[in-house]
Symmetry: C2
Subunit: 239 residues, 2 copies
């Protein structure tokens, strides 16, 4: 289990670490809110030292939006400096090929993130998969299960269909399987968490499942804790 850094959008690195300690989660998808892509080497070193001292493992960076070649360059240079082997990102269509070149150059994977029906680029997991399925095997996807369902795709199906390119998952729940569905504590919403976990077990998924909690963003800890508890409870009881 991990945490998607956007969950801590309203908090400092120190505050995020304190919250992660409370829920006993050590793996983080670092969001640029906490360490901008254009940070200096000294700023990167300082942030990494804080996470390291806090016992936090940064397993990826993202979600990083890439609208220009320069942004792609910057993202890969940043990922290398941070020391991760994967970027969760959103490249414009016309930058996918260029991103693939960078993936090869850096040997850093790119997991493209779907963002729901209002996203012009990648509303559903299929919008990612169809654009990367024939590219380098290090081009993959981060399925956001909430945005997936809002876009009309059952995440438990997407996980199975796109298993060969599934590098990362953002887990959450939503209060309605519609475009306007809002984030809610896992277990209280409409996502079939049992089915999602069954699918993950079926494909022998070995990546992270990172909670992205987008409710009560100024006081998210109880909701994060309930979400992580629920997910672990299902995970530990499904055969």
């Amino acid at each position: 289990m991990g945490i998607a850094g956007y969950t801590f959008a309203k908090f400092s690195i120190e505050q995020s670490i304190a919250m992660m300690k409370r829920i006993a989660v050590t793996d983080l998808s670092l969001k640029d809110i906490h360490l901008p892509v254009n940070s200096s080497d000294a700023q990167i070193a300082s942030a990494l030292a804080k996470y390291k001292e806090g016992g936090i493992n940064i397993y990826t960076v993202g979600v990083i939006y890439m609208k220009t070649k320069e942004a792609v360059d910057a993202a890969f240079a940043y990922a290398k400096k941070v020391g991760v082997t994967m970027i969760v990102g959103v490249p414009n269509y016309d930058l996918i090929e260029y991103s693939e070149q960078k993936v090869k150059e850096y040997d850093i994977k790119l997991a493209i993130h779907n963002h729901g029906p209002e996203d012009a680029l990648y509303p559903a997991p299929s919008d990612v998969y169809n654009r990367i399925k024939n590219l380098d095997a290090r081009m993959g996807m981060c399925i956001d299960i909430g945005h997936s369902l809002r876009a009309g795709t059952l995440p438990e199906k997407a996980i199975k269909m796109y298993k060969d390119r599934l590098f990362d998952i953002h887990i959450k729940d939503i209060n309605s399987a519609t475009k306007d569905g809002k984030g809610i504590e896992i277990g209280r919403g409409v996502i079939n968490i049992n089915a999602v976990i069954e699918s993950l077990k079926k494909i022998n998924y070995t990546g992270y499942c990172s909670i992205e909690f987008e409710k009560d963003m100024t006081d998210p800890l109880p909701g994060i804790a309930e979400s992580i508890g629920y997910f672990k409870g299902v995970m530990n009881s499904e055969d």
Copy 2:
């Protein structure tokens, strides 16, 4: 799902209600910390009004210790005024028979609570059951799964063995199956929550399962939330 009031020992009624709202739990085992047994009618009415306005259902009172006849009398009079049909209590052995008389007089059930190896009266569930099994059917037990395991009794077994007298359950987890085991978030400890829930389903348990969280008592909300999430996750995925 409910909450055992001791969880909120360090908080006011208003603060407890606010926390229960965050975790979407409405059923409370009212502890005398929040409404002493010797409260006046006006004090009782005032407290009940707060809970009612907060949407909280007080399904029982307790744990109430009864060391004298007067304490038994007071507990039953109090339970009647609060409007519950059950007391979770700990009567001295020589008051069990007198308590049974009161149970009949008031038609209020008594669920005797086990409190672990250091408890001189009821360390394990069997210490309750053996003393009430031949009494009025409204004499029963509240199994505390943490104290049960600390006393050497697997709670999943106790639930099945004592099902005919099982009126209430305090759920929690502990970090060690020993006398010195301490409270911890459900799912992080040594209690086999899957087995506990399987047993509850097997006996078609219809009572409450109330979280009693005894860690971080000055800031318990994240731990309560994680615990309730975990328990619900297992409950919703076990067949």
